[in-house]
């Protein structure tokens, strides 16, 4: 595989990252594994004793697991949309971050569905979803959506990786034989021939074109699991676009955080530049404004209309004795703070933007909790003729353990993947001259760059 000087430099710079695992990464991985093992024990308890070990009961039938499912699967859809748009619009500065977005897509589409499986009372009957599928059910739509999306995102990431795999294969890396062999298999004989290039480009374009609408469709289907029921706070036409935007927003936030972490860890300042933070920050601001607008429309409509059942949920969300504090956090940290931090030039700096993104991601997780739990705690008939533990949901330690195990596996997957592929893609990478930003340059001359522009 031929690389131009700039690409070669980018590869050499990251070479050691995929050659050595590193003590720090090992420590992290073990830390994550411990969390996953604790989660595994919680899962064992849940299977052995039944769902009674969770805080879910007859009224609040879904809890943290569904919240995590929405959260992770949302990241996944966002990653696909971001990567797809950056690819199709051929945004030059987008090239270094496309891989992170695609990694996020794949990893969260693996972690997310695990959580919906945790919600299912009978693991042993999951095959019923395929042998007795019932097409009327939004759950069946979601199974089809997630499976399709999973296949799409694997392909999408893989297509983008083939060239890089060929680079790794040919680079005579100092790696064990199995890894060399793995690169060889994964590169599927790519040599950079004209026809190979053409086929790859066509496939990538097609996949990007498919993945963007697919993400929108599957995010909407996810929302319809709730929107199609008759419950207040769920049964709303706004839910499809609301979930799409929420997914995109939180995904943008996680991407910023991931960029910040890798920039620190692998010293990638030349590739994840301050400008990247600003640009994604602008994205964050626009999406935040959109999300705020949806949130306001939703609450305002319910509050003003003040139908009895709707009002009960709204009152719970804004009552200081119920979910008022969390609502405040979700809307201040999730909408106001990110917009302000990006809007004010003094705080439009990587660290600040990352802080805003991190807060926002937490807030959006809380927001998903506020979508699920208060509605389920508000049935049409009063919950009087039932045991007290059914009235309020409060998550138990196995649920938290599994939640943290999910986050840990998300991070572990990221760690492992960044040891298999370079975080910044090398083939096809272009040097970008940001206006007013003369620093962060390598010694490549302008002439070399233009000479070998990739096809």
């Amino acid at each position: 595989m031929e690389l131009n000087t700039y690409q070669q430099e980018a590869f050499d710079y990251q070479r050691s990252n995929i050659e050595k695992f590193g003590k720090k990464n090992m420590a992290w991985s073990i830390f994550f594994l411990v969390w996953i093992i604790i989660g595994g024990y919680a899962l064992y308890l849940q299977i052995a004793k039944g769902h009674v070990v969770t805080g879910m009961r007859d009224n609040v039938v879904w809890g943290l697991f569904i919240v995590n499912f929405i959260f992770f699967i949302g990241l996944s859809y966002a990653g696909a949309i971001i990567a797809g748009v950056l690819h199709l619009l051929k945004v030059p500065w987008g090239k270094p971050i496309v891989r992170l977005a695609q990694m996020m897509t794949l990893i969260s589409v693996i972690v997310g569905p695990i959580f919906i499986l945790l919600c299912v009372g009978r693991f042993d009957r999951l095959h019923h979803l395929f042998i007795y599928p019932r097409i009327q059910s939004p759950m069946t739509w979601d199974v089809m959506a997630v499976v399709t999306f999973f296949a799409g995102s694997v392909l999408f990431l893989y297509m983008a990786l083939i060239k890089d795999f060929a680079v790794y294969r040919d680079a005579k890396l100092n790696i064990p034989a199995w890894k060399q062999k793995l690169y060889k298999i994964l590169a599927i004989g790519y040599r950079g021939a004209a026809s190979q290039k053409r086929h790859l480009i066509i496939s990538q374009n097609l996949l990007a074109i498919i993945m963007i609408p697919l993400s929108i469709i599957v995010a909407s289907i996810l929302s319809w699991i709730f929107g199609m029921t008759l419950r207040p706070g769920w049964h709303s036409t706004i839910f499809g676009p609301y979930f799409v935007l929420g997914a995109l927003y939180s995904g943008c936030g996680v991407l910023i955080v991931a960029m910040w972490v890798y920039r620190k860890m692998y010293k990638l300042e030349n590739y994840f530049t301050d400008k990247h933070f600003s640009y994604l920050g602008y994205g964050l601001m626009v999406l935040g404004a959109g999300y705020g607008y949806f949130t306001f429309s939703e609450y305002f409509t319910d509050w003003f209309g003040s139908a009895k059942w709707d009002s009960e949920v709204i009152n719970k969300l804004f009552s200081i004795h119920e979910y008022g504090g969390w609502s405040l956090f979700a809307n201040v940290a999730g909408i106001l703070i990110p917009i302000l931090i990006v809007a004010i030039p003094a705080t439009r700096k990587p660290n600040w933007i990352t802080f805003a993104a991190f807060m926002m991601v937490m807030a959006l997780w809380v927001k998903r909790y506020l979508i699920i739990v208060p509605t389920l705690e508000t049935p049409a008939l009063p919950m009087q003729d039932t045991r007290m533990e059914f009235v309020k949901y409060s998550a138990t330690w196995p649920e938290w353990a599994l939640t943290f195990a999910g986050i840990a596996s998300f991070l572990l997957f990221f760690t492992l993947m960044s040891k298999l592929v370079t975080v910044v893609p090398v083939s096809g990478l272009e040097e970008v001259n940001f206006p007013h930003e003369p620093h962060h340059h390598h010694d490549t001359t302008v002439a070399t760059k233009e000479e070998v522009k990739p096809a």
């Binding site: 004793k49 039944g50 769902h51 009674v52 879910m56 009961r57 007859d58 009224n59 039938v61 879904w62 919600c119 299912v120 009372g121 009978r122 009957r125 999951l126 019923h128 979803l129 042998i131 007795y132 599928p133 019932r134 009327q136 059910s137 939004p138 759950m139 069946t140 199974v143 699991i225 709730f226 199609m228 029921t229 008759l230 419950r231 389920l376 049935p379 049409a380 008939l381 009063p382 919950m383 009087q384 003729d385 039932t386 045991r387």
Partner: protein, 321 residues
């Protein structure tokens, strides 16, 4: 799946045998559901059966053992329902005093532990100035059931006789039906249910809802097994005040055990309504408004245990819900 294959793979011999058994069962059911006096004639009937040697023998049906349980009901029969029926229930709120005999009877009939009710009695108060009233609630067996619409594996289904039942051998426990039901009717087996020895080894029957299984959903089944025997659901029979009328919409007849009345006439005369009609779920349970009540509402409250009182305290003290 397995069962279906078995049905398809059955030999002709099995078919004849089954046909003969089915005849007996149908005859027995028919007689009891009609509850007419023709029982003796049926019993004196000659019935052809296949002997263990493979010969067809004709015997008097009086010599046959009539099994009362409906364990032989096939999956298909459980899903189709009782031909020609359209079950309906009317609950007379003016007569309910929260005697809670219906709950006990239901729990007993379905071998349910004391605190996992399928049938509940709520204390409702519609508006600030409104008067509280007792509100017994089973599954409404809606004609447009939100639970059935969302089930991903067809484990809960709507039958032609109007019932909404659950196949707990198929249920994956996703609880989507519970989230979708606006009436909080369904209950989940969060842990391994305690099952009495009598029913432990029975195959699951959607019409009785037993035996319960961990990780699956269950709910009131209108006691279709009793209907097959021509009997009323235990809640209807147990009620000391005749609150529940159960019957067949096709025959336009409902009965509370004491009196049998025209369903349409009852709804017309007493301004029957369906709970939360605006949701469009089309329940098969009608309520008669609590007008001219037979008991003051306190009669159902004062004698309750403290734990039970706790449930209704808020409404008794004036909060409307």
């Amino acid at each position: 799946m397995k069962q279906e294959e078995e049905v398809n793979g059955k030999s002709r011999r099995d078919f004849i045998k089954n046909a003969a058994i089915a005849t007996v069962v149908t005859a027995a059911c028919g007689s009891s559901i009609c509850s007419c006096s023709s029982k003796k004639e049926v019993i004196s009937q000659k019935i052809q059966l296949l002997s263990p040697d493979g010969e067809i023998v004709e015997i008097d049906s009086a010599y046959l053992n009539h099994h009362e349980t409906m364990a032989v009901l096939s999956q298909h029969e459980q899903r189709v329902g009782i031909a020609g029926k359209k079950f309906v229930m009317v609950v007379d709120l003016a007569r309910c005093k929260n005697a809670r005999k219906c709950i006990t009877a239901c729990q007993k009939h379905h071998y349910r532990p004391e605190d996992k009710e399928w049938l509940t009695v709520k204390l409702l108060k519609d508006s600030e100035k409104g008067a509280p009233y007792w509100f017994p609630k089973q599954c409404f067996h809606c004609d447009n059931p939100p639970c059935v619409k969302v089930c991903p594996v067809d484990a809960t289904f709507k039958r032609q006789d109007g019932l909404v039942l659950i196949d707990n051998d198929r249920c994956i426990g996703c609880k989507f039906c519970m989230a979708a039901c606006p009436y909080s009717t369904r209950v989940f087996n969060w842990d391994e249910p305690e099952i009495s020895m009598d029913i432990r080894d029975l195959p699951y029957n959607a019409e009785t809802g037993v035996p319960a299984k961990v990780g699956t959903v269950e709910e009131c089944d209108f006691c279709a097994d009793r209907a097959r025997e021509g009997l009323l659901p235990p809640c209807v029979e147990a009620c000391p005040n005749g609150v529940f009328y159960f019957g067949d919409e096709n025959e336009d007849t409902v009965t509370n055990g004491d009196e049998t009345v025209s369903f349409t006439q009852l709804i017309k005369d007493r301004a029957g309504y369906r709970f939360l009609e605006e949701l469009g779920t089309k329940p098969r349970v009608y309520y008669l408004p609590p007008k001219d009540r037979q008991f003051p509402v306190e009669r159902g409250y004062d004698d309750l245990s403290d734990t039970l009182k706790q449930r209704f305290k808020d409404v008794m003290e004036g909060e409307h819900k």
